[in-house]
């Protein structure tokens, strides 16, 4: 049978894949996979709304600190992350930068002090401000439609 022959030549292996993909089931599978690839490209290109502005190098530096110190293990952005601390998506609008900076620089009883330098703290706050400018994490009640779906504001 084929499965013994297939070992001997690249052509037979190719033949085996080919016959496999001509089966009915494989056709469905292949079509789904192609759809998925198209969908993925659409998401990469058009899945999000454009940001108000591109991230500056300061923001990128803050983003890096955010990751290096693993802030996401306790905090959420858009509700995603760990749950020990509060969601920080819109904290800049809600609390203001100076207030947040105190937390970032000194920590609290529950939040560790990361001993960040003044500049690093500023960069993290800039990053948070940039995140804040990309949208609201909490969905307002008016956005819920009768279908149970949301209609979020498109900028």
């Amino acid at each position: 049978m084929l499965h013994t022959d297939a070992r001997h030549g690249g052509f037979l292996i190719f033949y085996r894949f080919l016959t496999f993909f001509l089966q009915d089931l494989s056709k469905i599978f292949t079509i789904l996979t192609i759809l998925f690839m198209l969908f993925s490209i659409a998401i990469y290109k058009n899945g999000n709304l454009e940001p108000k502005h591109l991230p500056s190098s300061k923001i990128m530096a803050g983003w890096k600190t955010w990751q290096d110190k693993n802030c996401q293990s306790c905090h959420q952005l858009f509700g995603l992350g760990g749950y020990l601390g509060p969601d920080l998506t819109n904290s800049v609008t809600e609390k203001g930068k100076p207030y947040l900076k105190v937390f970032v620089q000194y920590g609290t009883a529950r939040m560790p002090n990361f001993k960040l330098k003044e500049q690093e703290a500023d960069e993290v706050i800039e990053f948070l401000a940039w995140v804040d400018s990309s949208g609201k994490s909490r969905v307002p009640a008016e956005a819920v439609e009768w279908t149970g779906n949301y209609k979020l504001q498109e900028r």
């Binding site: 089931l25 999000n48 709304l49 995603l80 949208g135």
Partner: protein, 427 residues
């Protein structure tokens, strides 16, 4: 497989510590803070599940393809490189070196050896695949799982390309696109194992060949590909993304209906096999599928998700599925591979006790997370202006219940694993 089981113990242990540090961060921050415990717990969980699934897969592969018992070079490369990398990852965590992204919280260059290791697994798998005589459904599921894991794993690292980080929304969307589908990919591998076990236990080859079975397979693949948007309903994405996710997620009601329909058959089947440990775990997994599916379906309705997103309800869903479904199926598969059912009654008694303790504590564990989550979710809308500490006061009470039941969960698993390790030494 031994390594995967050690990961399971590590998961439980770090989970325990993490939940304590939740309740008393002041104390733990001095020694081993939550931002270190959480990655340790979550990565251990991830590596337990993926490592456990692949080690079962490597074993079942031999039964499907009639390969010899000897490990091929590709298999050895996969196993060793994987284990070494995981150990290195834990070393990095212990030195507080992080990558800072959810679930894959280690420095990103460590993804490279994991990738090479996975490619080696794929080589080993497709070699066997070429030799297989035919392709029952579980072979399809394994193949799909392995391939999609590769895709999502690469996608998870796309953020290294600056273009993907020009917008925070793009970053979030692509990250959760890959995370969401990745869960689906290992579920394909694990559900494949469960189907394989069912076929071998009942001796009815036909279960893996019916039209309905294939129909549901394609439904699950479709969900794996397109339903992940329910993780990010609240993110201001293009609205068609939300529509697709909502629509596709709702097709899972079909699974729900099917489960209800087959309830009676299951009960008959249960009477026949309930003495088998392997079967016991499979049934536990089915029951947990039912509960978690109910929760997941509700959470996938945006109007409800509004209250559950970003709360412990999500954690209930994550841990309910990883423990209740994935871990139970893996325990079943491993008990079959290690022939736990053939051990002496004395040894098996530990498994029985552990089984009941863990199931009972998991119920309390799961329910307390859901209550904690709902409290937080509703309180943040009802009292938008109170401080975070005030918000959490009643929630913390339920997190205490969680810790307490988590201790029993740990105990239950330790009792079972005692016997598993004994069987592993024998094998």
């Amino acid at each position: 497989m031994g390594f995967a089981l050690v990961m399971l113990i590590a998961t439980l242990f770090f989970g325990m510590l993490a939940s304590f540090s939740y309740l008393n961060p002041e104390f733990y921050n001095q020694y081993i803070p939550f931002y270190q415990l959480r990655p340790m717990h979550v990565s251990a969980a991830l590596f337990w599940i993926i490592g456990g699934a692949t080690s079962c897969l490597l074993f079942f592969k031999k039964e499907v393809s009639e390969e010899g018992a000897k490990r091929t070079i590709a298999e050895r490369l996969f196993i060793n490189l994987w284990m070494i990398t995981v150990v290195v990852i834990f070393l990095f965590y212990s030195f507080k070196k992080f990558g800072g992204r959810e679930y894959w919280e280690f420095p990103p260059f460590l993804c490279l050896p994991l990738l090479i290791s996975w490619l080696a697994l794929m080589v080993a798998w497709f070699k066997a695949w070429l030799k297989a005589k035919d392709y029952p459904l579980y072979v399809w599921m394994w193949t799909a799982g392995i391939c999609f894991f590769l895709f999502t794993f690469l996608e998870q690292n796309l953020y290294q390309i600056p273009w993907f980080r020009q917008s925070f929304l793009k970053e979030v969307i692509v990250q959760w696109k890959s995370n969401g589908s990745m869960v689906g990919s290992w579920n394909q591998i694990i559900y494949g194992c469960s189907l394989f076990l069912m076929v071998t236990l009942t001796g009815e080859d036909s279960i893996a060949r019916t039209k309905t079975a294939y129909y549901f397979f394609f439904l699950s693949i479709t969900n794996m590909m397109f339903n992940w948007g329910h993780h990010i309903y609240n993110v201001p994405s293009a609205s068609w993304l939300r529509d697709v996710a909502y629509g596709i997620s709702m097709t899972e009601w079909l699974f729900f209906i099917k489960m209800l329909q087959s309830f009676k058959e299951k009960m008959d089947e249960r009477r026949k096999f309930k003495h088998l440990i392997t079967y016991k775990f499979l049934i536990a997994a089915e029951v947990w599928v039912f509960f978690n599916l109910t929760l997941a379906l509700l959470m996938s309705i945006p109007a409800i998700n509004r209250y559950t997103h970003g709360t412990h309800v999500t954690v209930a869903h994550a841990m309910g599925t990883t423990i209740g479904i994935n871990t139970m199926i893996l325990m079943a598969a491993m008990s079959y591979i290690l022939r736990v059912d053939e051990l002496e009654i004395r040894d098996k008694r530990w498994v029985h006790w552990g089984y009941y303790i863990s199931q009972a504590s998991l119920v309390v564990f799961w329910v307390s997370l859901i209550i904690a989550g709902f409290l937080k979710g509703t309180r943040q809308f009802n009292f938008p202006h109170i401080t975070y500490q005030e918000l959490m006061v009643p929630v913390n009470y339920w997190l205490r219940v969680l810790s307490f039941s988590g201790a029993f969960l740990l105990l239950g698993f330790l009792l079972m694993l005692k016997t598993y390790f004994k069987a592993l030494r024998k094998a």
